[in-house]
Symmetry: C2
Subunit: 483 residues, 2 copies
Amino acid sequence: MGWGDLGAFGEPSKETPNLDQMASEGMLFLDFYAANPLCSPSRAALLTGRLPVRNGFYTTNAHARNAYTPQDIVGGIPDSELLLPELLKKAGYINKIIGKWHLGHRPQFHPLKHGFDEWFGSPNCHFGPFDNRALPNIPVYRDREMIGRYYEDFKIDLKTGEANLTQIYLQEALDFISKQQASQQPFFLYWAIDATHAPVYASKQFLGTSQRGLYGDAVREIDDSVGKILKHLQKLGISKNTFVFFTSDNGAALISAPKQGGSNGRFLCGKQTTFEGGMREPAIAWWPGHIPAGGVSHQLGSVMDLFTTSLSLAGLQPPGDRQIDGIDLLPAILQGKLIDRPIFYYRGNEMMAVRVGLYKAHYWTWSNSWEEYSKGIDFCPGQNVSGVTTHTQEEHTTLPLLFHLGRDPGEKYPLSFASEEYQQAMERISVIVQQHKATMVPGVPQLNVCDKAVMNWSPPGCEKLGKCLKAPKSDPKKCFWPH
Amino acid sequence: MGWGDLGAFGEPSKETPNLDQMASEGMLFLDFYAANPLCSPSRAALLTGRLPVRNGFYTTNAHARNAYTPQDIVGGIPDSELLLPELLKKAGYINKIIGKWHLGHRPQFHPLKHGFDEWFGSPNCHFGPFDNRALPNIPVYRDREMIGRYYEDFKIDLKTGEANLTQIYLQEALDFISKQQASQQPFFLYWAIDATHAPVYASKQFLGTSQRGLYGDAVREIDDSVGKILKHLQKLGISKNTFVFFTSDNGAALISAPKQGGSNGRFLCGKQTTFEGGMREPAIAWWPGHIPAGGVSHQLGSVMDLFTTSLSLAGLQPPGDRQIDGIDLLPAILQGKLIDRPIFYYRGNEMMAVRVGLYKAHYWTWSNSWEEYSKGIDFCPGQNVSGVTTHTQEEHTTLPLLFHLGRDPGEKYPLSFASEEYQQAMERISVIVQQHKATMVPGVPQLNVCDKAVMNWSPPGCEKLGKCLKAPKSDPKKCFWPH
């Protein structure tokens, strides 16, 4: 989902009454960021509180390449990383993930090996293979074992866009919440739905209901589901004791537009890029009786902050033996404070840009290669800012491109290098970047090696279902990441 | 102002608490349009309920050119046009305009000759001449006589952007409302502020207060002033008897960005164009006790509807002897009805596009000429949609470019001509356009002739002030309208 996909964020169809109400009862974050312009690394960062370049969710196969976890990826979340649910366990929390995991599909990487008590969902994206029979369809797990596969047992009609997965995920969420409430146990629910990821899908009852087409149908179903989850918390009488945060893992994928692509509002470009459209996210915090209703925050936030903030809510400290990038947002949420902190925009192994206050400095600019662009792959459709949305990797490390995101949220007007404003802002930013780079210890890159043999041929539980497939011989290769 | 300039419409700085509150107490219109992508024609349409091509506020000097009323314009609002205040008089209304008139600056065109009882403001824009002494500065009038001139008596500091005009306009408004309330007379106030028009200005107390720079300062001052006007109505106990509508006369002028330019959200291009960014406007209706709080309407609306709606509120019928383009919005506002009606997008003498439901068909596309563009005049900065934001006037009358504004609000993806959707939509649209063209009787164009002799050399009242200047000899010429 993109920043501009909710009514509360100016989507002109205004079709998200539940999320808009969540915002009016809670707090809207206008300057909240994904940790990466791509799904897997952003999710790994959310659960570890650490930048992908630290937790290993990046590649060094080529410079500044987005990488993720397709089913031929060999790597996954390292055991050395401490995930939020692992830590929450110490405070007695029961942890469940519903939906897309995306931190590695091989058994050693599974959610239940990394602190989750329950899992319903899939390890990889539901895009491809599209039931082509030459490759294994993505499995759907309940806890440790697969219970079926996409397209075979969990239908997604690629023609109509019909799939009832969000309804299944919703029911799983409501059941889990009821169960925890009944047993009086604190819980952490990571509701990682994926209906707005291409191939976008919605249940029959939502198909054709949006002005925005199929993508809007999916957003409406998510909106409706969030409303039902919040009402469920209220009905059970635990809303004042439950912190809820809504956000997304990367900007809307404009390459899927118009039918399957969302909106990044007036921000530049989308998913895959380190422009605002690729990483600024809709974000709402909700906690009736604690968060003042109708609040708006300009706190620079990150999905990684949800790690630290959740620990804080559970009365826990973040691990002291490693660099944590997420900060505790509670002072911003509960007391309206503004905490001074930078946002780093990474693409693979490169820090492309940094935001400090209202200034954003681009040290590298790139949308994608001319080669890809000439094939019609366009991360910035209809947008073209000369020298900014470049199709070659442009280095600006000696003289970064500087934007003022208040006057110029669309990153169209770089400040003059000769201006006093540029000099003053860059003085401050340079110190922050130098310190960041000097203390950066990159993790072992997990997204370098691909091997068809590791695909979901025979996931745990496949025997019971008669769904085991024969894996080919191992043939590890460097993964190819085109952008 | 542009569609995206208010927090309620997704402006990421969210600095318009008063207008946002006005929206939450009233009704937000998401699909509301100016009658033209330029000021004068849009304002003439607002006050006559008729398209500029009917009321004469257009030019035939060249094809599809935007024209307005600079101070060398010979024409103005024809006596044959019936203006809203003229009609409201019949129901006992006292009418006042505060701010920019823009319907002709020669005495026969003045507000008090066309139904207004009071006027405080200027006949032309405050941009140029910038006190260059070779041309008369724009006069400021109280009622029938000038009381001073811009830059001389009403300061606008072009360097700092400081001017206290909005405060003066605010005080005029509050005083007028108090006076009418005291005398128990119904009133129509046309509060036509212009602080967000370049050169953008704000009072000292607002300078530097916005994240968005000077433009944001101006928006904040307008927002604050609207809040004060609404509170004044409430304090006087007449809010339940006063209908208030907030909107703008054209999209944000992106050529003035980033320092002096506003936001059209995710819509394409800006002022001067017939893309959504040029004509879709922020719009809020407010009438406590009558309009349901927090309402949102997708009614296709136009500033021309304010003419018909205002008459309806006053119990009057629109004139029956002429074509009126504005419709009565009260069923949409009070009963949430959706009235089926098209929106026509004109540029000068040409119908460039039409919106029917969620479809918009472009019969002509043009941003501006290559010649202008090469000089740096860009109405679509950072945006470029191939075959859409064209720099030559492109005719599509036989096969219009069709967009679905729900799935594609940014007008980036024309529908395939071969698609069934295109065929079906165009069938319906063609009938509407044919009927529109067949019954169109254009008015006498008022914006064809320019003459330096008609400038504000010696406005009424100049003698008393010693501010009369000597006019040059009359030398009428065709006005030159470059875009």
